[in-house]
Amino acid sequence: MTTTATPHIVTLIDSLRDARRTTSPEVALDSAGIRATLADGIYSLLGEAQPTIPYVIRPSSFRRDVATSSYTPYGRMRGALITQLMRLIAIDFPIHDLFTDAVAAWRASEGASELVEVFAGLDDDERARLATEVVAHGVVLQQRLGIPPSSWLPRTAVRSAIRLGGGGVILRDHIDLVIGSANGVGSGVALIDITTSILDESMERALRFHAVVETLKSGLAPRFVATLSTATGQLWRFNVDNELLHRGVGEILSTLDALVAGR
């Protein structure tokens, strides 16, 4: 893991640029093995019986126990608004007012939803509090993200949904920013998660989940997973290797085990 302790100098994009320049030893990543291990583990947990409602595992399944404040409607709104700002920054789109631009973009993207209704029901004080938080997080985002060059093929809000165990388990993921190409020999893809909460161990688990889902989805493992906390400006970056992927698989199976036991 690489932790950057100089938040005012290095952007996440700078950090990835440096990492991409560094030639790391070629690691043969076993995507077929990852899928087989998951399939075996799911079979041992579910057996042959298909659940009537599939078990859904998301990044939040790994974070909920630790970062509960981020999963209040207020925290989710803040996160959703920061995601919209990130999308505008990633394509170098001019932002005039961090809060109003984020709200306009979010409402257009989200359409009608429970969270939009909660937003509409905020009183003036609550809205002002949300605005000041979004602006504070947005400033950190502008300082610490950096603008990915178009040659890095930035993609934003990339969704994944992988059915496993004959449809009994669905892994749902949402990556804020994906850069690099999976084509050619080896993969140069970096998966970036922007969070408005602080970075902790649960974030590491969420990053490993991202890496496993991307590997299952494309048949190619990503090269890096990284995260930026707009609460602290802290950056984490991990090189993806077999150990990381297998730990991710183990955590998915533990989470599924807990879900099965709780149903």
């Binding site: 394509i91 631009d101 984020a102 257009a108 993207s109 093929l153 969704r159 059915r163």
Partner: protein, 268 residues
């Protein structure tokens, strides 16, 4: 390859799906076209019917609540952007999306865009929403082009979707197609889809393949159609046999019947 084949999106699987050596090309005869037209004419309609794979997948239910949003614009703008990139490979995906956006705005400004069209919708958007529209379309175009790069050198964007107007039946069939692989062995139609494939995804692909074949003046059927769900990491494929084509046509006729019953119920 009989029936629907499902594969993960590994390079080996994609190579297998793109191999159509030995798959014979079926041809639709004018008698078959006439028979299909007769079937559609036998289903009364008080308006001009528009049928597509989406309706087949939804068992004939018309989409009544369509609204433009950054997500619903991404295929139109993203595919138009990829056609720009094919013509001018030096363009970045986001620059190409801006070109596609400018085309839409130009049509709206000249008064060529009809009410409710994408051009008119974009023309009235606030600035940050335009940004999200560009971000969605850029992401779509980038992902699709990345996937196309894994499908071999013969792949190219389809210039338009396939349309077939059924003679004397006030019915237009639309077959969506995002890209085509044309080689000496024949052609493969490629569809890029969002989300997870639903149970009726195979029927949708059959309908797209049938309309694509009907829209060909010589009636040549593509050897295969491949539906790719990049978000799910899954591809479904169907060979263009006469049996597949008949099933696709039957599903479209069935959709017309369901639609007719739906309108009859409303009228009653």
């Amino acid at each position: 390859m009989n029936g629907v084949t499902q594969r993960d999106l590994t390079n080996a699987s994609l190579e297998e799906l793109c191999d159509i050596k030995g798959v014979a090309q079926a041809v639709i005869t004018s008698e078959q076209r006439d028979a299909l037209a007769a079937r559609f004419r036998s289903i009364p309609t008080g308006h001009h019917r528009r049928l597509d794979a989406w309706m087949v997948e939804k068992a004939g239910i018309q989409s009544s609540d369509f609204a433009w949003s950054p997500i619903t614009t991404r295929r139109v703008l993203g595919n138009a952007a990829l056609r720009y990139v094919e013509r001018s490979p030096q363009l970045s995906y986001s620059d190409a999306v801006y070109e596609a956006l400018a085309d839409q705005l130009d049509r709206a400004a000249r008064g060529h865009a009809r009410t409710g069209s994408l051009g008119q919708w974009i023309a009235n958007l606030a600035n940050p929403i335009v940004g999200i529209v560009v971000a969605e379309a850029t992401t779509w175009a980038t992902q699709m082009h990345q996937m196309m790069g894994r499908l071999g050198p013969d792949i190219a964007m389809a210039s338009v979707d396939a349309y077939y107007d059924v003679a004397g039946a006030r019915t237009t069939l639309r077959g969506r197609r995002d890209a085509l692989i044309k080689s000496e062995e024949g052609r493969i139609v490629i569809r890029f889809r969002s989300g997870l494939p639903v149970r009726t995804a195979g029927a949708g692909l059959r309908a797209d393949l049938a309309v694509e074949a009907l829209s060909d003046p010589q009636g040549h059927v593509a050897q295969r159609i491949i539906g790719i769900w990049p978000e799910a990491g899954v591809a479904l494929a169907l060979d263009g046999t006469m049996e597949t084509l008949r099933a696709g046509a039957r599903d479209l006729v069935r959709s017309a019947i369901v639609e007719h019953r739906h309108y009859t119920r409303i009228a009653a």
